[in-house]
C-alpha cells in the first residue's frame, strides 16, 4: 500500500528527516513512535503530499506521489485548527464526503453515524468553539473515519481524550480497520497504545529522524483492553519499545 523510501527533509538548515524507510501493507496498522520534535508530523505531511520532501520518495501502490494521494484521510495533531470554525460538527464531518459523490442525505447520515461512533451523537449541531478539546479531537477522528479512506494517517489522535474514551476509540479503530480494510499509519506517544493497536511499531530516533527499529507485534486478534494487555508478549513488547524510544540499545536477550 504505502512505501516510504529513504525520505529526507530539512526546514532551512534544520534537518528533520534523514532517510526514513517505512512500509504499510494493505490493511495493516503501523504505529510510529519517537521523541517530540523528531519529525513525525513532517513525515506524515510528506506522505499526505503537503510537504515536498528534500529527498527520497513516497509510493502508494507502487506509484510515486507528487500530490495529495487519492482516498486518503488525515487526523492532524493540531485538531482544533483543522476543524472549520464556521461549520457545525456534523458539517465538518460531512464536508469531505462530497468527494465521494454522496447525496446530501447520505452525507448527513454518514456524518451522524460517525459522530455516534466517537460518542458525539448529541453534539452534531455544535460548533467547534462550543466543544471541549477532547470533543473537537473526536470530531476530527469522526471526519476521517466517515471518509472511509484506503489509507488513514493519524497524528496523535487520542491525545486529548480521557482514558476510557481512548480505549473505546482504539477498539473502534481496530473494528473499522477490520470492516473496511483500511491501511493505517498512527503516530502516538503512548507506548502501550502503539503496541495494543499496531501490527507493527516503527520507532524513530530524535531529529534528524531515522528508523531505529521496525518491530512486528504478534499479538492475537481480536484484541481486548484487559486480556491483551495482560499477555506476557504485550508486556515484553511494551518494554522493548520503551527502551528503544529512550534510546537505550535493546538487550540482545529480550529480542
Amino acid at each position: 500500500m504505502l512505501k516510504v523510501d529513504n525520505l529526507a527533509h530539512a526546514y532551512g538548515s534544520h534537518h528533520v528527516l534523514d532517510g526514513v524507510d517505512l512500509t504499510v501493507g494493505d490493511g495493516e496498522l503501523v504505529s510510529v513512535v519517537g521523541p517530540s520534535g523528531c519529525g513525525k508530523s513532517t513525515l506524515l505531511r510528506s506522505i499526505a503530499g503537503l510537504v515536498r520532501p528534500a529527498a527520497g520518495q513516497v509510493l502508494i501502490n507502487g506509484v510515486p506521489v507528487a500530490q495529495t494521494p487519492d482516498d486518503l484521510a488525515v487526523v492532524f495533531q493540531d485538531y482544533s485548527r483543522s476543524l472549520f470554525p464556521w461549520m457545525s460538527a456534523a458539517a465538518n464531518v460531512a464536508l469531505p464526503l462530497r468527494r465521494k459523490g454522496l447525496s446530501r442525505r447520505e452525507r448527513r447520515d454518514a456524518a451522524r453515524a460517525a459522530l455516534e461512533q466517537v460518542g458525539l451523537g448529541g453534539a452534531a449541531g455544535k460548533y467547534p468553539f462550543e466543544m471541549s478539546g477532547g470533543m473537537q479531537q473526536r470530531v476530527a477522528i469522526a471526519r476521517a473515519l466517515a471518509f472511509r479512506p484506503a489509507l488513514l494517517l493519524m497524528d496523535e489522535p487520542f491525545a486529548s481524550v480521557d482514558a476510557q474514551t481512548r480505549e473505546e476509540l482504539e477498539d473502534l479503530l481496530l473494528a473499522v480497520r477490520a470492516t473496511h480494510n483500511m491501511s493505517i499509519l498512527l503516530i502516538t506517544h503512548d507506548i502501550d497504545e502503539s503496541v495494543y493497536v499496531g501490527d507493527r511499531v516503527v520507532v524513530l530516533t530524535r531529529a534528524p529522524a531515522r528508523v531505529v527499529q521496525d518491530l512486528a507485534v504478534d499479538l492475537p486478534f481480536p484484541r481486548d483492553q484487559i486480556a491483551t494487555r495482560e499477555l506476557e508478549a504485550f508486556v515484553r513488547l511494551r518494554a522493548e519499545v520503551g527502551k528503544l524510544v529512550r534510546g537505550r540499545p535493546v538487550d540482545k536477550e529480550s529480542q
Binding site: L50, V51, R52, R81
Partner: protein, 271 residues
C-alpha cells in the same frame, strides 16, 4: 550576469505594464483623438511640466518645487495624522464595547459625508488654507484605518486574550503586545488603503487654494490641456505606486507582521 538577473526580475514584474503601455500607444495613435493622447505625448508634456528645470536641481522645474512638494508634504502630514488618530481611536473603540456603542453611529455618519462638502465648514473652523486642506485630508483618509483597526482589535482570538488575562498583563502591555500585533494584518490593510486615499484626498483638498497637483489638474482640465490632464493623472499613479512600494517595504520590517498566517506558513504544498 547580475545585470541579466536584475533585468529578468524587472521583466517578470513589469511585463504587463510594458504591454499595456505599448497597446495604449498604438491604440491612441490609430484613433488620433485629442482627448486620448498617446503616452509618448503625455510623457513629453510631463517632462515639460515637472522636469524642465536646470540639472543643478535634478531637473526639477519651478512647478515641481512650488506645486508638487507642498502638496505632497500636506498629504504625508495628513496621512500620518490620520493613521495615528485612526489606529489609536480604532483600537480603543475596538476594545471598549461601551465606548463604541456611543460613538459608532457618529462615525458611520461621518464617513458617509463627501469630503468636498466639508470644505465650507472647515474653511470656517480652520483659519488657514493649509489647515483646511489638512483637515480635509485627515477627515477623508481616516476611515479605512479607523474601521480596520476597530475590527482588528475587536476580533482578536480569544485564546490570545485569555492568555494575556491569565498572566496578568497590564492594560498597556496587553494592548501593545497582544492586541496590536493580532490586529496588525487588518490595521495594515487599512493603512495601505488610506495611503492611496491620501493622494486622492490631496487632490480633493486642493479644490481650495492655489497650489498642488490637484490644483494643476483642475487648471489643466479647465484649459482643455488634455496631455496635461493625462500627465497629472499619470503622475498621481506613479506617485501612488512609489508610495505603495515604500509602504510594502516598511511593512515587511514591522514586527508582528512577520508571521505567515496564524499558524505555520505555507509549507510549499505540492499542488
Amino acid at each position: 550576469m547580475k545585470a541579466a538577473g536584475r533585468l529578468r526580475r524587472f521583466a517578470g514584474r513589469f511585463w504587463l505594464v510594458v504591454l499595456v503601455v505599448l497597446l495604449w500607444e498604438a491604440g491612441a495613435r490609430a484613433a488620433g483623438k485629442i482627448d486620448f493622447p498617446a503616452p509618448s505625448l503625455i510623457v513629453a508634456r510631463m517632462r515639460e511640466l515637472w522636469l524642465s528645470g536646470p540639472p543643478s536641481r535634478l531637473f526639477l522645474s519651478d512647478d515641481t518645487l512650488s506645486e508638487l512638494l507642498p502638496g505632497l508634504g500636506r498629504m504625508f502630514t495628513g496621512w500620518l495624522l490620520a493613521s495615528l488618530l485612526g489606529v489609536v481611536a480604532g483600537v480603543a473603540l475596538g476594545r471598549s464595547a461601551v465606548a463604541s456603542h456611543y460613538v459608532e453611529p457618529l462615525l458611520h455618519f461621518g464617513r458617509a459625508i463627501p469630503p468636498p462638502l466639508l470644505i465650507t465648514p472647515f474653511v470656517l473652523v480652520f483659519r488657514s488654507s493649509t489647515q483646511t486642506q489638512l483637515a480635509v485630508i485627515v477627515f477623508g483618509v481616516i476611515w479605512p484605518v479607523l474601521l480596520n483597526a476597530m475590527e482588528g482589535a475587536r476580533s482578536v482570538d480569544r485564546g490570545y486574550l485569555d492568555t494575556a488575562a491569565v498572566f496578568g498583563l497590564r492594560r498597556h502591555e496587553r494592548l501593545l503586545r497582544v492586541v496590536l500585533p493580532a490586529a496588525a494584518p487588518k490595521i495594515f490593510a487599512g493603512l495601505r488603503l488610506s495611503l492611496s486615499l491620501a493622494l486622492i484626498l490631496m487632490v480633493i483638498s486642493e479644490l481650495v487654494g492655489s497650489d498642488g497637483i490637484g490644483y494643476q489638474l483642475l487648471v489643466a482640465q479647465r484649459n482643455f490641456d488634455s496631455p496635461g490632464v493625462w500627465g497629472t493623472i499619470l503622475l498621481l499613479g506613479v506617485l501612488g505606486y512609489a508610495l505603495n512600494s515604500l509602504f510594502v517595504v516598511v511593512e515587511r520590517h514591522v514586527p508582528g507582521t512577520r508571521r505567515s498566517g496564524p499558524g505555520r506558513p505555507e509549507t510549499g504544498g505540492v499542488t
